[in-house]
Symmetry: C2
Subunit: 484 residues, 2 copies
Amino acid sequence: MVRSVNPVDGSPFGPEIPDTDPAAFDAALDAAVAVARSWGEASPGARAVVLRAMADALDGHADELAVLADQETGLGADRLRGEVGRASFQLRLLADLAADGAYRTTDVQGLDERPLPAGHPPLRRTLVPLGPVAVYGASNFPFAFSVPGGDTASALAAGCPVVVKAHPAHPQTSQAVADLLVGAAAAHGWPGGVVALVHGFEAGRRLVTDPRVRAAAFTGSGPGGRALFDLAVARVDPIPFYGELGSVNPVVALASALGDPDRFAADYLASLTLGSGQFCTNPGVLVVPAASGLPEAIAARVVGLAPGRLLSAGVADLLNRSTGQLLATPGVTALAQGPAGDGGFTHPVAVAATDVATVLGAPQLLHLECFGPVGLVVTYDTDAQLAALLDALPGCLVGAVFATQDDPGAAAVVAALARVAGRVVWNGWPTGVAVAVAQHHGGPWPATTNPLHTSVGASAVHRFLRPVTFQSLPDALLPPVVGS
Amino acid sequence: MVRSVNPVDGSPFGPEIPDTDPAAFDAALDAAVAVARSWGEASPGARAVVLRAMADALDGHADELAVLADQETGLGADRLRGEVGRASFQLRLLADLAADGAYRTTDVQGLDERPLPAGHPPLRRTLVPLGPVAVYGASNFPFAFSVPGGDTASALAAGCPVVVKAHPAHPQTSQAVADLLVGAAAAHGWPGGVVALVHGFEAGRRLVTDPRVRAAAFTGSGPGGRALFDLAVARVDPIPFYGELGSVNPVVALASALGDPDRFAADYLASLTLGSGQFCTNPGVLVVPAASGLPEAIAARVVGLAPGRLLSAGVADLLNRSTGQLLATPGVTALAQGPAGDGGFTHPVAVAATDVATVLGAPQLLHLECFGPVGLVVTYDTDAQLAALLDALPGCLVGAVFATQDDPGAAAVVAALARVAGRVVWNGWPTGVAVAVAQHHGGPWPATTNPLHTSVGASAVHRFLRPVTFQSLPDALLPPVVGS
């Protein structure tokens, strides 16, 4: 059982939403299996129509969805209305991809009559859907990384039915959105199995171990994602598990970019506190020259910043623990802290400071994600110190570098970030992930459980497709899914 | 310690090859790490030169390599000379891909100034190498799936150094080939870390758990692959593990294709006994109409076939066990068996028979790979029985269907095979995997540990590359690996 909690005052509200019981769980999975073949073998255009109808349904209810989600998350109705638009835009982007269908056939080679090993029969390499997919909604994006988010949109576009595990921090929003998606599919003649929603911790655990589920996608905490990953790969029949677990997202500022420390400090804090810092792309570690005046400029601004509103008691507890760990590390000092909030779930804006030597002696600092408006500034004195720090960076979703283009040190920072990050930003902040064909939102462990894949953008669809090569098959016999 | 054994008479020969000791193991891994950056960031053309030199070195020593490998495997010098050519062809195919380099940039999008969510900064999505890769050689292909095989070729082409674990059934061949590859790299100025070889069970276990190894590829038995997969995913930092574990590879013959049962039986047995049946694409299960006369035609031919020469005592033991399991299953009968061999490691050609009802009641029969010249014929009486059997098929590398193009039942068989197999062959046998751009050699579990990837053909390179999106980066600052 779960009940919504308003993070503004910590009060529960709305109905008690029961955990999905085993019978309902089985019915949802059976329905997904029952529809998997027809959904998977439907023409690309037929699936696109449904995805666009889902996008329309979201847009048509954006205002009330934003109000409801704001009550459950405290993220603000304006931001949430924008997020509904982001989710519907993503559904349409993937609908366009699905409608094209060209991506499904990757290579066609005719008969090559040369002797072996060069010769070969006619070969046609195509992509087919994996089957029912489990999606785990995230707390910090009740739309764009939850029920109607990129995981759901890309799995549906690929031809896979989806069973979403609702995040307990926004169960009513999850249910309202699921009802809209189910309704949109039904309006085009598709039964409920195309999308379904389950609630409860146990349902989430069962989902990733159920033999009817053929892949899973997750956005959330490192420990939660690891636990589900471990279940997925320990199955008698292991399944692909795509977990996006967050990271510290290093931002490296070279001296050439720091002509105006106060302006830079303001921009940094805007990124650090966006959404109260509750983004997996939050700039957790800022690397700056010790003599830049930047730590001082940051400190001067932090004290005047309002506290961050947090999503839930769980997020607040975790942030208090991780911030405590950060500040308890020898060599780390509290640079500045803003005022505390009163009532509900909040945390002061806080920035800690340390130097390269401390980080190299305590590399866990580069793994400590403070999920909220809390950052760490690492100062360096020499190029050698900077190089040593760059070599110590763990896998991350995104890294950024600020420098002038003619700075001779810039290329080395770009190369170092490319070795560990899924996205490298030039003179920009890591927050804000555009939904686009050329986007990559992923990265090496511990940022994700699989460095080859993205959860944002058109390429996300490839997580749920596997190749099949047809050898010597007459075109007339190609299955509908690849023949169209 | 391992010593070569001649499978013709079971006699050991040649030097005692010690297991790689911890110091030598560490040196190999350190060398791989040391060269990973320069190999990974070398221009695509520079890597292609080395791959082609490796191919030339193999071709230049094909005769003596084939003689040596024949002594260790009994596969025959002619077949083995051809396999050297297959391995060198594959190295050149991947060299061509690497030299092109175009595959490294998947999408480029300029600035889109529309408001969010449609607008986005300039984005360039590229592929970068994962780092050092562990490759586990297979017993049945001492060249094409061992030291110089598709896993090695594709990892090197991707920009990843390779450490190969030698298969203990052909340690001298492994060492001779590794020396040639190392020499070819050295001739172009590359240190030993680009390719290295380790020997011994413990070295194999350590390889997949070593933090310096960033991905692993394996071809071999289900239990062996599962054990290594479990180690790879249990790491503190899980790594991609690409295991190709073999399968039963169903071949479905419809009545329309069986005009000449004796000819069909001869073709079936040629595929079943090719390489003494020691192929992961061996047609383990043949599905035929009960009234076709085919079982009788097969039985008539089997009794005259010479026994199969097996690779090793281990393969012989496993085949005796699995064949025993097959024949001990109630409802399965021995259709026919050829004469037994004398001396060395051999097994008679043997075909068992059963019907659909038996298989549906004992589905483990569809998971029982008899690695050798042993097949199972499953007879069906009705279309409904055939459909039920097709629905029960597990994941497999390849499935084949024999039918005339106007047979109304053909499309359903093609679709059913496409749901479970990585490759679907029309009117041909599953043995023989062309090395080609449009090839896919993979499939759903239990055929492989990851259904998205192939170990043969140009797409194999994608197992060892991960995307990075550069946001707003000036072209002049693109890292060399993606800029060329």
